[in-house]
């Protein structure tokens, strides 16, 4: 046993960004470097943690040594490791991007604005990362509430960072949504504690019984998470908040923050309320997802602005995640559906980050993001357009991207359990996604004079977008190990015989 | 069951609910905030009643005191902005 094997890696993914939050707040000049170093550090710690989980299965860690029920436990299983990998990898790319983004103004008036944004972006982002990682590792539902708040505060402040009217209004709405969602969640936590005298996920899992208490707790927590996760029809706040934020922030919000709520919902649904949920409720959530896919795509098809299009695409893509609930109803396809949606989260995170970064580059170079007038500028930025296209491939679900593998598994779960309606929906959603992605790419091929960029786009900004979009595509070719890892710590109900 | 206690509980609870409603229905924001501070102090009483003196202290100091101060200063800023902006902003849609 070396130090590498025994080190408490899971702590570092929380302590590092927390400390970095302090340091970036104190030392502004060094903030970008601290930020990049921290995200790299969290990649290392996640790698260490992943090795431990692969080697010896899911981990538990009792903070303060108290253990359940008095203390708070952390836990790391396949799902949380994958989520941590996601936040770490996206984190590195966005940090590298942001390091250039916030120091690239040509005009002096913009320089002052950027200095302000730079000063606050880094500490807020570091706390966001701490909140995310803390959330992915928490095994305690009250602690989940605390991390949700940490995440929410950071996300809202980041969303308002652009300072413009639309951004501020969107951030205000986001804050109200986020706080009320958290309160719903907290009420659910309170009811569960009242009934079962523990807030530990695993301890609760053995105790929760169907009944008014469990139902109301589920209803409260689920609605809180659905509104925070912008699930149709509670998505109204998301597009303006995501589209009007500075580009790296849009990427973080769309790729990571909304996933946090979904992650908790996934945990609760399959681990905590496994005995409580009924097929009808599962179908209801699935129908919300269907609404999200159709409505979000339809909206994306009509948006005049690029970043709004990308944001509505997030609404639509989140709909797919909700399909896990009806698709996992059959014991035979539960594990496939579960793996599908987790892989979907990963693929979407990479693709959406890449897409927002690419869209940001285009908007930066053009000085606007009206889709109708992008012809010349897209042809001046082939790398960013390529990133957008590759990310689009993953969003559409074309092979060999990560999105394809996720949709493959979703379809497999749907067809395997004879649910043709959902299968059709998945395919229709793909075609709609193709339509709105092509709305943008179209402009890269028109016959126009190549425009001179209004602002030069630094190479790091183009490459970080491209790197992530490549990753989104390559995810399709390296799904086997993550999916294998997911079985470590997958809900017990899913280890039914006859699984492939 | 101590009847007096029950009466006290009922009165306290009803007062809390009524105050909460008044806080949010008050047409005058200032009145609403003042009522909210009163609501906080009444909550502190409820915390004491429920054997939670730590929370009572926190409520009095944080929930009612600091939050009240925050809200009042927020309102003051709102008023100042309105006063300074009224001539031009009034025309905005």
């Amino acid at each position: 046993m070396t130090l590498w094997d025994t080190a408490p890696w899971l702590l570092w993914s929380i302590v590092l960004p927390l400390s970095a939050g302090i340091l970036t707040f104190l030392f502004r000049r060094a903030a970008p470097w601290i930020g990049i170093a921290t995200t790299l550090g969290s990649v290392v710690s996640v790698a260490g943690l992943a090795a431990q989980v692969v080697h010896s299965g899911p981990l538990r860690y009792s903070v303060g040594g108290w253990g359940v029920p008095l203390g708070i436990d952390l836990r790391a299983d396949g799902l949380s490791v994958l989520m941590l990998v996601m936040s770490a990898v996206i984190g590195v790319a966005v940090s590298v991007y942001a390091a250039r983004y916030f120091s690239d103004a040509d005009a002096t008036d913009e320089r002052a604005v950027q200095a302000h944004q730079r000063a606050y972006f880094w500490p807020l982002w570091m706390f966001l990362l701490a909140g995310l990682n803390g959330l992915f590792l928490a095994a305690d539902i009250f602690h989940l509430y605390v991390t949700l708040e940490l995440l929410g505060f950071a996300a809202v402040s980041l969303a308002a960072l652009a300072g413009k009217r639309a951004a501020v209004v969107a951030a205000m709405r986001y804050l109200l949504v986020s706080l009320s969602g958290s309160l719903f969640f907290l009420f659910g936590v309170a009811i569960l504690y009242a009934a079962y005298a523990t807030v530990d996920l695993t301890a609760l899992a053995g105790k929760v019984q169907p009944g008014p208490l469990a139902w109301s707790a589920l209803a409260l927590m689920a609605s809180g998470l659905l509104i925070k996760g912008a699930v149709f029809p509670l998505h109204f706040w998301l597009p303006p908040a995501h589209a009007n934020a500075p580009t790296p922030v849009s990427a973080l919000l769309s790729a990571l923050v909304v996933k946090a709520s979904f992650y908790i919902l996934l945990r609760l649904w399959f681990e905590l309320f496994g005995a409580v949920v009924t097929p009808a409720t599962a179908t209801f959530l699935g129908l919300l997802g269907a609404g999200a896919i159709l409505w979000g795509s339809a909206q994306a098809l009509h948006q005049p602005r690029l970043k709004l299009l990308v944001a509505y695409s997030t609404v639509a893509q989140l709909g797919y995640l909700m399909l896990v609930f009806p698709l996992a109803q059959n014991a035979g396809s539960a594990l496939t559906a579960w793996s599908a949606c987790v892989y979907f989260v990963l693929a979407h995170a990479c693709a959406k980050t890449a897409m927002f970064l690419a869209a940001g580059n285009i908007a930066h170079a053009a000085g606007h993001d009206r889709i109708a007038d992008l012809d010349g500028i897209t042809q001046a930025l082939p790398l960013s357009v390529a990133a957008f296209a590759l990310a689009g491939i993953s969003l559409i679900g074309l092979p060999p991207s990560g999105g394809f593998i996720a949709k493959w598994m979703l379809l497999q779960a749907a067809i395997g359990s004879g649910k043709w309606g959902w299968a059709t929906l998945i395919l229709v959603g793909s075609l709609l996604a193709a339509a709105y992605v092509m709305r943008v790419l179209w402009h890269a091929f028109t016959q126009v004079e190549v425009a001179r960029p209004l602002h030069r786009v630094p190479r790091t900004m183009e490459w970080s977008a491209l790197a992530l979009s490549l990753l989104a595509v390559l995810l399709g070719l390296m799904a086997a190990r993550p999916v294998e890892l997911l079985r470590s710590g997958a809900p017990v109900s899913m280890h039914a015989p006859g699984q492939t | 069951m101590d009847t007096l206690q029950t009466v006290f509980d009922l009165v306290l609870v009803l007062a809390l609910l009524w105050l909460a409603w008044r806080v949010l229905a008050a047409a005058d924001l200032f009145k609403g905030i003042v009522l909210f501070i009163a609501f906080g102090l009444l909550m502190a009483l409820a915390w004491m009643r429920l054997r939670a003196p730590d929370i009572a202290l926190a409520e009095a100091a944080v929930g009612s005191g600091i939050t009240g101060a925050l809200l009042l200063s927020g309102l003051a800023r709102l008023r100042r902005l309105e006063r300074s902006a009224q001539p031009h902003i009034g025309s905005e849609p």
Partner: protein, 244 residues
């Protein structure tokens, strides 16, 4: 006192409001029904918490829960406090003190008596928190009250004009908390697993640092914007970030 904007909220019962009300009433009814099915007696975790009290380093079970059993929650909560200040500072700049009228001599002499008393109370609450109701949050709030009063009487320029010092004090609570939490691991313990002999002392250390940060944080929230001498961003505020 009644500017027109207050009345944009009419409280008449439109069909939409009626629907919202019905929805909320249904929710409340369902929750109430569920609550009625709670067991009437449940010691929750009280028994365990009290049994472990002697190992926690403090005598007040709530403080034990806040800073020991569930100290990890509190660690992140202190981070939330800091984050709130950063968020507020990223949004707005503090209004110049000139906005406040100069304090009257009566008020000043009143403050001269009250403020030291409040500081004493804050310290007392911090100290007493270990064995009786009280603690860093309550004490911090009282101390924040001091700062608020200073602000209102326009006497706080000294506090908000030392940018570096201010930031240092704001992060103090979280820094000490993290340092202790990680530091105790040097002895082979887990995160936040205080050695039994030093638990009380370490908790007091954390609380003292937190007290200062909490007080400053709450006061900063009251001020509602970043400090005036904030160099990098005060320039920015002239250009679009704060179009006033």
């Amino acid at each position: 006192m009644n500017a027109p904007d207050d009345f944009t909220d009419d409280t008449r019962l439109t069909p939409l409001r009626l629907m919202i009300m019905l929805f909320v009433l249904t929710l409340a009814g369902a929750l109430g029904w569920a609550v009625c099915s709670l067991p009437a007696y449940s010691s929750g975790l009280a028994v365990t918490a009290l049994a472990e009290l002697s190992n926690s380093g403090v005598l007040n079970p709530v403080t034990a829960a806040v800073l020991n059993y569930r100290g990890y929650d509190t660690l992140l909560e202190i981070a939330v406090l800091l984050l709130a200040v950063i968020g507020v500072w990223s949004l707005a700049q503090a209004e110049p003190p000139a906005a406040f009228e100069p304090a009257s001599p009566v008020l000043l002499s009143f403050l001269r008596i009250v403020l030291p008393l409040m500081i004493l109370i804050a310290g007392y609450l911090l100290w007493i928190g270990s064995f009786a109701p009280g603690g860093a949050f309550q004490g911090g709030a009282v101390l924040a009250g001091v700062l608020v009063l200073l602000r209102l009487s326009n006497q706080d320029r000294a506090i908000w004009s030392h940018e570096v010092w201010l930031r240092f004090c704001l992060v103090l609570g979280l820094s000490v908390f993290i340092a202790v939490a990680v530091g105790v691991m040097a002895g082979g313990g887990k995160l936040l697993e205080y050695p039994r002999a030093h638990a009380g002392m370490l908790i007091l250390l954390i609380e003292s640092a937190a007290l200062i940060s909490i007080a400053l944080t709450l006061a900063a929230l009251f001020v509602g914007g970043r400090a005036l001498s904030d160099e990098d961003s005060s320039r920015a505020s002239d250009n679009g970030v704060q179009p006033e």
